[in-house]
Amino acid sequence: MTLASAARLGVDPHRDLTDYDPEADLMVLNMGPQHPSTHGVFRVKLYLDGETIVRAVPYVGYLHRGVEKLLEELTFVQATPIVDKNDYVSPMTNEQAINMAFEALLEVEVPRRARYMRTLFAEMSRISSHLLWLATFGIDMGGALGGGTTLFLHCFREREYILDLFELVTGARFHYNTHTIGGNRHDIPAGWAKRVHQALDLIASRVDEYLDLSTKNAIFVARTRGVGTLPAKLALELGITGPILRASGVDHDLRRDAPFHAYDEIDVKVQTEQAGDCLARAHVRIRELSESIRLSKLLVDGLPEGPICGGRPIKNPTQFKAKDGQAYVALETPRGELGTYVIGGGGNKGASPYRLKIRPPSLHALAAMPYLLVGGTISDAVVILGSLDPIMGEADR
């Protein structure tokens, strides 16, 4: 579905019909906001001709919690646990994003050990996020009762190892609140590196099992090949980044192209595919998973000694103040480019940001829905939505 063919089909994704044309004899089916497969509260109104989708109108905002407004009231120090809940599947990258933005604004240096730790946590978070994606993708295709569940439970079993490792460092399995302005709050306990190697070796040995249950399974391939092809030009215009963009053939990864933290010291092999369909996205994510395992092992072995925080230890929520200045910092999360645009000089005598805008990669990915769904069936809609991997907490904030 290209822009030209969308225009030819009379598909105008900007428009929503409140009553459909009676001559068209289309059935309106609402998928969501409560639905077993919409990955959170997301609604898409499908106009169906039989089982073929003629028009798809997505509605977001069901999980809008006013995070940006809230962060204008809270101080820089208090922002981390709030932002944890945006992309709730890989919380480490959320915290990293916001603290990097604040450090750019406040001009605080991050010591080398903290940079390595943050990168390591981000890569491990990427592994757990892609495992969760694969699990839910299996459920979308095979149903909650069936072969999809087998894949789901196997992936979750592996994910538990990573969550256990995070628990050893921070005390929490999810929502860690471990990053702070200038570095991290929790240091790595003794013997952790060995456990990381054990867990990652175990996961690496099971990647073949996942491939058997997914990309080497004939029915999985039949359901995903040629489905939801996203042309590269459309992806770029929509602002889609991350595995989806790479699966459409664009070789762009912020970890390699605009390196931040420890990425300038290690070599990231960027995985791309040319097809741009759901199968290509699946391939890219599974290969990224293997690549992240390799990177995590490198990082945990090469962790330098030193302090873990460059800012002053937190005694007072208003201790970091910014009178003015604006900063935009972007990093590569499992979903794409998560950017934070912050303007200093807000309330609490400059201890709060004046405006904080979070650029969520999932929202840009969801904007592709009207283009990708047209011409497919409902079964395809579920598979396409799964392959875009949207997290509504991040898309709606």
Binding site: M27, L29, H35, P36, S37, E51, G138, I139, D140, M141, G142, G143, A144, L145, G146, G147, G148, T149, T150, L153, H154, R157, L213, N217, I219, F220, A222, R223, T377, I378, S379, D380, A381, V382
Partner: protein, 330 residues
């Protein structure tokens, strides 16, 4: 007692016994499936209710019975209420002609195979009407998909069921089993491909994964059964497992030799049970390993692969039976 015709009495007693056994097997088939699925997924399955969770089916039934009896306002009451019991009825009625032991069946119809296939066709109707009567778009889509899938896969099922009929020269299921007892099991010879096609078609008729798009939970919420709750939903659920067991029983009778024993061991009901349960195990295994087909891929599989192959098989069987005496019998 004089007022009741002996055939009716025979039918009532045998029918009651076989139906009871079958329904019990269904209930504990559900238990087995859940345990097996759990083990495939590195977990235990039901463990709390009774020793290793053996009382779980009773707990499930009790739970479903005490739920609120909902009928949607805009639903077609007659069809809505009639559909769940009809699914169970048609499935159970199929068992009437299956010989569970030597010459033991509810009814030894000379057109037994036709009876099975006809009821198999009728089974599509209650699912379809349930989908329509629910006044719910998801249910309607599920019902339409069920009809498309059901009537398409009947054709390879009928054609592959003709192969045992051709070999045994009779549509009486007991005669087919007797023929297999005297000669050899059909699956161990020319009937292998027919067995495979029959097996796959039965999976599709029973709406089991990978063919479960009528109730595709991740796409259609609960498909045809979306608006059903309580024991009505329980009846659909039970009908699915019952259909699986019945399809396994039919396949064992037609292809695997029914009550006939291996290695010269005694014939009897234990063999029939063993074969039925073995096929049930295979169906369960397939279910928990594979993801589902998309509806057009499913149709393509049926019409472009299964139908031509089963047609060819019928012709090959006919030629085989005709020419075999001339080529020297086995």
């Amino acid at each position: 007692m004089n007022a009741i015709h002996p055939i009716v009495l025979h039918g009532l007693i045998y029918g009651g016994a076989i139906a009871t056994v079958l329904l019990t097997l269904t209930a504990w088939g559900i238990w087995f499936e859940r345990k097996f699925a759990g083990r495939m997924q590195s977990r235990l399955g039901p463990t709390l209710v009774g020793w290793v969770g053996l009382l779980q089916p009773l707990a499930d039934a009790a739970k479903l019975l005490q739920k609120e009896d909902l009928i949607p306002d805009q639903a077609d009451r007659t069809l809505y209420l009639a559909s769940p019991p009809l699914t169970v009825f048609f499935t159970l009625a199929t068992v009437a002609v299956i010989p569970v032991s030597v010459d033991v069946a509810v009814a030894n119809l000379p057109i037994g195979v036709l009876w099975i296939l006809a009821l198999g066709g009728l089974m599509v109707f209650p699912v379809w009407t349930a989908g329509w009567a629910s006044a719910n778009k998801y249910a309607l889509l599920g019902g339409m998909r069920a009809v498309a899938q059901g009537i398409s896969y009947e054709i390879p099922m009928v054609l592959s069921a003709l192969v045992p009929v051709i070999f045994a020269g009779s549509m009486d299921v007991n005669e087919i089993v007797t023929w297999q007892a005297e000669h050899h099991w059909l699956v161990l010879g020319p009937g292998l491909f027919a067995f495979v096609i029959f097996f796959v078609s039965s999976l599709a008729e029973a709406n089991r994964i990978p063919f479960d798009i009528p109730e595709a939970e991740s796409e259609l919420v609960a498909g045809v059964t979306t608006e059903y709750s309580g024991m009505r939903f329980g009846l659909f659920y039970m009908a699915e497992y019952l259909h699986t067991l019945v399809a396994s029983a039919v396949a064992s009778a037609l292809f695997l030799g029914g009550w006939n024993g291996l290695f010269g061991l005694a014939d009897g009901i234990h063999w029939m049970l063993a074969k039925t349960l073995a096929l049930f195990f295979m169906i369960t295994w397939v279910r928990w390993s594979l993801v589902r087909f998309r509806s057009d891929q499913l149709m393509r599989l049926c019409w472009t692969y299964l139908v031509p192959i089963s047609l060819a098989l019928v012709m090959v069987s006919a030629l085989w039976v005709y020419y075999e005496p001339m080529l020297g019998g086995h």
